[in-house]
Amino acid sequence: MTTQRLKFYQVGSFAVGNRLAAPDQRTVQARPDRANALTSGHRACRGCGEALGARFVQDAAARAAEGRLISVNATGCLEVFSTPFPETAWQVPWIHSLFGNAPSVASGVAYALRAKGDTRTRVLGQGGDGGTVDIGFASLSGMFERNDDVLFVCYDNQGYMNTGVQRSGATPPAARTATTPALGPTPGNPFGQGKDAPRIAAAHRIPYVATATIADLHDLEDKVAAAMALHGARYLHVLVPCPLGWGSASAETVKLARLAVDTALFPLYEARGGEVTAVTRLRRQPVPVEQYLRPQKRYRHLFEPGIDTATLDRIQLIADANIAEYGLAPEEGS
């Protein structure tokens, strides 16, 4: 169900305030009865994309589950900043076990509910890209192939940010991390590596897969709602910029997520039963990737001391390929 486009938006950002939207189109966050699952006072960095994404995902899922939601968290930033004993930011029942087993733990919760005859309570698993696409990948794939009744959400900030910005299987080409330094003849993360986790998820032919970002929170909530309307294994891959790891200004987190979409480096789509069923086309002509890369210090070596046009061109080719593969080109007249 992607989303009927909102008619009102502020020129330039495409963002829209709830006050401009019809009541039924307002976000869960605009409602006084929201679950407030991840409440304020936690210890995330200023401008943390994951905290924003997790709050919207949790509350949208909790609304869909009529408040009966159990959350399972992989080790990572989200777990660390939300639960420094004796404090907790979680207002839903929440468990953290290990880094690489969150999908399995979530499956266990789902089987326990089934054994107890509880058909109302729903299960949400969540983790960062390291916990999802790397160390937890076997666990995730097992949960998918059994079609366990779990929605798993990956908050992808493209690296191991909690441990100090190391490279993950979701780190994009040329990005500097602590383990892919901006040194040598090919600085940053190599080209031709990494996993396309949402497509691999879809290849399990599970009921629902979607990508989203924290730049369009209406779209994010809608996709959570679409996932929660189904049972079985579901997967949501949410791009969440990380000011620390990306070397970006805290105030630019949402803007960078939007540029990732507008450059076509992060395509937005849904896949049901293994087939891509809906794609969010670009609203305007694609933004050159340079505009997305330049504000991020992890790409500084592409611009200083001289501009590395060859590498910029390679990254542009990735965006162009996404436009062609997913049919992202804007409609005529946009």
Binding site: G67, R68, L69, I70, V72, N73, E79, V80, T83, P84, F85, P86, E87, T88, W90, Q91, V92, P93, W94, I95, H96, S97, L98, G100, N101, S104, V105, A106, S107, G108, V109, A110, Y111, A112, L113, R114, A115, K116, G117, T121, A138, S139, S141, G142, E145, R146
Partner: protein, 391 residues
């Protein structure tokens, strides 16, 4: 009812009678027959709404059990050897979270070299994981330990491993008196979790704990484990009263009350050891046997009392850490400060049979004062020399 039955089938039947809600497993020899039998029983609708989950690894097996247990389900899994090591990270986690999961370990050696046969190097390697570890003496004992394990686990909120010698017990057919469902029900009440993931009463499980409280968490875990040691014989006695047979829970003492020399062992080899003791006693030797059932928590006081006044203690070690001394022997020794000499005899590694005659040879050597502090039973010195000269 007494049946001629394979050990794995007997254990599976008793586990089913414990009414688990979630059973999850990844196959590994020699655990397979247990979980195959449970899969069949769950498919046949027994017990109740139980869920059987085929997972992609042992790490997932225990992780599913963790999620299920935290949601208030009685959770069970089984593994062995490499599988136990593959779930090692989750073992510590389940214990740290205080989740009363019961797991059968069909004890098997760890490779390399790969070896599917029995010794205790798998469960011994996880002795510090925070799990209670009980070692079955025979298949009757293996069957009886499972209801006791569930009750103990749920009472003290700790996971329990029931360690059962792979093949030697899991695949052996012998008479087992299987408890009736009503007997198990009379002993094991429905699981009443201490903490549970419940939308009506949300709690956070698995928070991060820093230096200001971590030591206290570990101290309380230690105290709780000691409490398990107090509760274990009480619960085993309760179950024994219901089923009408004894269920050794801490130790199984055999002709040791007046013995000058005590031989301590864990697992099925205790049966062979009792036969050896009988024969040696017939020959006039003053020796007794002590089967160690509860290895974690370690029953220091029981060992101290059992070894008081002996002139010598032998410990059969079913695992050997290279470059150190016998694992069980070291703890027995620490239980007996100023006590008799303790000899570690490494025996039965990777499935090598521990025979009565070899036991008698070792015990006789000890009597003569000729047994070193650490020795390897039945070591094939020719093979060792051949391997040395080949390198």
């Amino acid at each position: 009812m007494c049946e001629q039955i394979e050990g794995s089938q007997a254990m599976a039947r008793v586990v089913a009678a414990c009414r688990p809600d979630v059973v999850c497993a990844y196959p590994i020899s020699p655990q397979t027959h247990i979980v195959e039998a449970l899969a069949a029983m769950v498919r046949a609708g027994r017990p109740g709404r139980a869920q059987f989950v085929n997972v992609e690894s042992e790490m997932a097996a225990l992780s599913v059990a963790i999620g299920a247990s935290a949601t208030g389900a009685r959770a069970y899994t089984a593994t062995a050897s490499q599988g136990l090591l593959y779930m090692a990270e989750a073992l510590y986690n389940a214990a740290g979270l205080g989740l009363p999961i019961v797991m059968t370990v069909a004890n098997r050696a760890i490779g390399a070299p790969i070896n599917i046969w029995n010794d205790h190097s798998d469960s011994i390697s996880q002795r510090d994981s925070g799990w209670i570890q009980l070692y079955a003496l025979d298949n009757q004992h293996a069957a009886d330990l499972h209801p006791v394990a569930f009750r103990l686990a749920e009472e003290v909120s700790l996971p329990v491993m029931v360690c059962v010698d792979g093949f030697v017990l899991t695949h052996a057919v012998e008479p087992v008196d299987l408890a009736e469902q009503a007997q198990v029900d009379a002993f094991l009440p429905p699981f009443a979790p201490r903490q549970v993931l419940d939308p009506d009463d949300p709690i956070t499980i698995g928070a991060m704990v820093g230096p200001e409280a971590f030591t206290e968490v570990r101290f309380l875990a230690h105290e709780n484990a000691k409490r398990a040691l107090d509760r274990l014989p009480v619960l085993a006695a309760d179950y024994a009263a219901i089923v009408g047979r004894t269920v050794p829970a801490i130790v199984d003492s055999y002709r040791s009350e007046d013995a000058e020399m005590l031989v301590i062992a864990m697992g099925s080899v205790v049966g062979t050891l009792k036969d050896a003791v009988d024969e040696l006693r017939d020959d006039g030797a003053d020796v007794g046997a002590l089967g160690l059932v509860a290895y974690r928590p370690f029953p220091f006081e029981t060992i101290r009392a059992a070894a008081a006044g002996r002139s010598r203690v032998i410990v059969l070690e079913r695992a050997q850490p290279a470059g150190s001394t016998g694992v069980v022997g070291a703890e027995v020794r620490s239980a007996l400060p100023g006590g008799p000499p303790v000899h570690s005899v490494v025996a039965g590694l990777g499935g090598r049979p521990v025979t009565r005659s070899s036991l008698k040879t070792v015990i006789t050597a000890a009597q003569r004062g000729e047994l070193p502090e650490l020795s390897f039973m039945d070591l094939d010195t020719g093979l060792v020399e051949a391997a040395r000269s080949a390198t």
